[in-house]
């Protein structure tokens, strides 16, 4: 459920960058205080381990298909919230940069969706509460892993829905979108929990010293101030992106408003044109007829798409194709101009 750049608006992406950035800074600060200098190689190697673990598929019980783990819950159990958050963030960064999995603008969203919930919500408030401190029986670890992995994944899936919807890019209504995403991710969460438990149980049997069972490494705390800032950023971003998505381009919207006021008879003009549109939409070469319009809702309401003038569209199609051709050719041409000496 990696978000891609193409699915979010700059406002949503930027807001989530701020949120994830402050969480990163917070985690980095609290790890500084820990002064465990073995943490750096440990986090690095475990991040690489998550990558490797994603290469190995397991059979999903009860079905014929197979899946791989996400690793957020496992990292939280092994490293505690702050180090786990940093490690998940680094995995996502490398995926975005090297594997084109998720994007750079969406990185803030992805770090928040896939890192915040398992590390700062599910681990301290679910997993630790169920297992407690000290050694836990196997069944309890299993139950805790399943519930914690689901609590870590489902809110993330909900966040994906909200971020895409706030960006105004997916046109699916929020409830439908949620109904699509949540059940799937609940199932994925349960499976993730089973796989996580299988690994944790093996390690705690083989090398009990490697699974931290004490609460010392886990000052789950996010400072209340940080939480306040987070909430503030989310509210601001929410308002901003609502505005931005209702009016994708502030300037165009403003111009349209002004033009509407000046024109006065806009609604009549509008209705007339959509009538023409209904009767001529299938006619050939319609797009080239000057002054015609495409679009638009028949009702008197605001058009969902800014009215597309057919002349403008034709110019757009031709110009777009030309510019694309020039851009690609320029790329190939520049290859010949530049010396290529691989070091």
């Amino acid at each position: 459920m990696h978000m891609a750049d193409a699915l979010i608006s700059p406002v949503v992406g930027g807001t989530m960058w701020l949120v994830s950035g402050s969480l990163l800074a917070h985690s980095a600060r609290s790890l500084r205080r820990d002064t465990r200098d073995d943490l750096t190689p440990l986090m690095g190697v475990l991040g690489a381990f998550v990558f490797a673990a994603q290469m190995i598929n397991f059979t999903i019980p009860g079905t014929g298909s197979s899946g791989h783990i996400g690793g957020g819950s496992l990292l939280s159990i092994l490293l505690g919230p702050h180090a786990a958050f940093l490690t998940i963030a680094s995995v996502l960064t490398v995926q975005a940069l090297f594997f084109a999995d998720g994007g750079l603008l969406a990185l803030g969203c992805n770090i928040f969706n896939l890192g915040f919930f398992p590390a700062f919500l599910a681990y301290p408030f679910v997993y630790r509460k169920i297992t407690g401190s000290g050694a836990s029986p196997r069944a309890r670890i299993l139950g805790a892993s399943v519930i914690a992995a689901s609590t870590g994944l489902v809110p993330g899936a909900a966040a994906v829905v909200l971020q895409t919807s706030f960006s105004g890019i997916s046109e699916l209504p929020v409830p439908t979108f949620l109904a699509l995403m949540l059940p799937i991710h609940l199932a994925i969460g349960i499976i993730e929990g089973l796989a996580t438990a299988a690994v944790v149980l093996f390690v705690s049997a083989a090398r009990p010293d490697m699974v931290p069972s004490h609460a010392a490494s886990c000052r789950a705390g996010i400072h209340p101030l940080t939480l306040g800032l987070l909430a503030g950023a989310l509210v601001l971003g929410g308002i901003g992106s609502w505005f931005a998505s209702a009016h994708p381009d502030g300037l165009e919207w403003a111009i349209e408003r002004v033009a509407g006021q000046l024109g006065g008879s806009r609604s009549g003009w509008h209705a007339g044109l959509s009538e023409i549109q209904e009767t001529t939409a299938v006619m050939p070469d319609y797009g080239f007829r000057p002054g015609g319009t495409a679009a638009v809702e028949g009702d008197a309401g605001e058009p969902k798409w800014p009215a597309v003038d057919a002349g403008t569209s034709a110019a757009g199609v031709i110009g777009g194709a030309l510019v694309l051709l020039v851009a690609v050719l320029a790329g190939f041409a520049s290859r010949f101009g530049s010396a290529r000496n691989t070091a």
Partner: protein, 272 residues
């Protein structure tokens, strides 16, 4: 090999060792321009597909001047697209109003927003790939650290990239060993391992990885590591970098507000 999305990440770092004018720019300038590019592309309103076309020039020229081969980039693009395509495809179903017709073929709002999502996915992903393949992990890390990203996070990313191969090779050879001994799982029926077997396989890999972390830590301590990676001497922001940063920013912002496609198309087609 089982992981389908598995691509050698070292390939891009190899490409970063090519010598070209683009490679020689300071990583900070390239990071800033890439960020601005992605912001500008994503801020173009979703229904204006033609306005996106000039932005193709940036990755096209970047890869071209840098002499980066096309194949590894296209392979990564192909992997990146499905999720965006999936969400975009929903728009096809939801928005069926005809908003534009080209040569008699009615295009619905859904088709246009689907195309717009795909095009923007290609543009933004190639910008990120361009950044890595002309800069390289270590120099991006150095740039980020100097720009104020927490040192521990930068170190973590560099470590992760370094150990990716080591641990994955181990995972691959363990998986091969399981396949050869077939340990109660029947190839052909499912691509996955039974959960219990998965647990012990991954558990062993985890134990090996943790042991390796301990050894790495000792080796680093022995060489005087205190928790910080130093980047002295990597970065130099020269006048060329200012020129690159300034001109790219100016062009990107100009393209955001002016629409040369519309004008060019108008001139050619003689409409408007």
């Amino acid at each position: 090999m089982s992981g389908r999305h598995w691509i050698d990440p070292g390939e891009l770092d190899e490409l970063a060792r090519i010598d070209s004018p683009v490679h020689r720019l300071d990583p900070r300038a390239k990071i800033l321009v890439t960020a601005l590019y992605i912001l500008v592309v994503m801020s173009v309103s979703p229904d204006r597909i033609a306005a996106l076309m000039p932005f193709v020039l940036f990755p096209s020229l970047g890869f071209g001047i840098a002499g980066i081969p096309v194949t590894p980039i296209v392979r990564r693009l192909a992997i990146a697209l499905p999720f965006a395509a999936m969400i975009g495809a929903l728009n096809l179903v939801v928005d069926r109003e005809i908003v534009l017709s080209v040569c008699g073929i009615g295009l619905t709002g859904g088709v246009i927003s689907f195309a717009s999502i795909l095009i923007r996915a290609v543009l933004t992903v190639s910008a990120a790939l361009l950044l890595v393949s002309v800069t390289g992990t270590h120099r991006i890390g150095a740039g980020l650290a100097v720009m104020g990203v927490p040192g521990i996070f930068v170190t973590q990313v560099l470590f992760l990239v370094r150990y990716l191969f080591v641990i994955s090779d181990e995972a691959v050879s363990m998986r091969r060993a399981v396949d050869l001994r077939s340990a109660g799982y029947h190839p052909g029926r499912s691509r996955g391992l039974p959960l219990r077997l998965f647990g012990s396989l991954m558990g062993s890999l985890l134990v090996r990885s943790l042991d390796r972390a301990v050894r790495v830590h000792r080796a680093m301590r022995a060489r005087g590591f205190t928790g910080d990676v130093r980047y002295a001497g990597i970065l130099r922001f020269r006048s060329m970098d200012w020129v690159f940063l300034g001109s790219c920013a100016a062009v990107l912002i100009a393209l955001r507000w002016a629409d040369p496609t519309q004008w060019l198309g108008g001139v050619i087609a003689g409409v408007r």
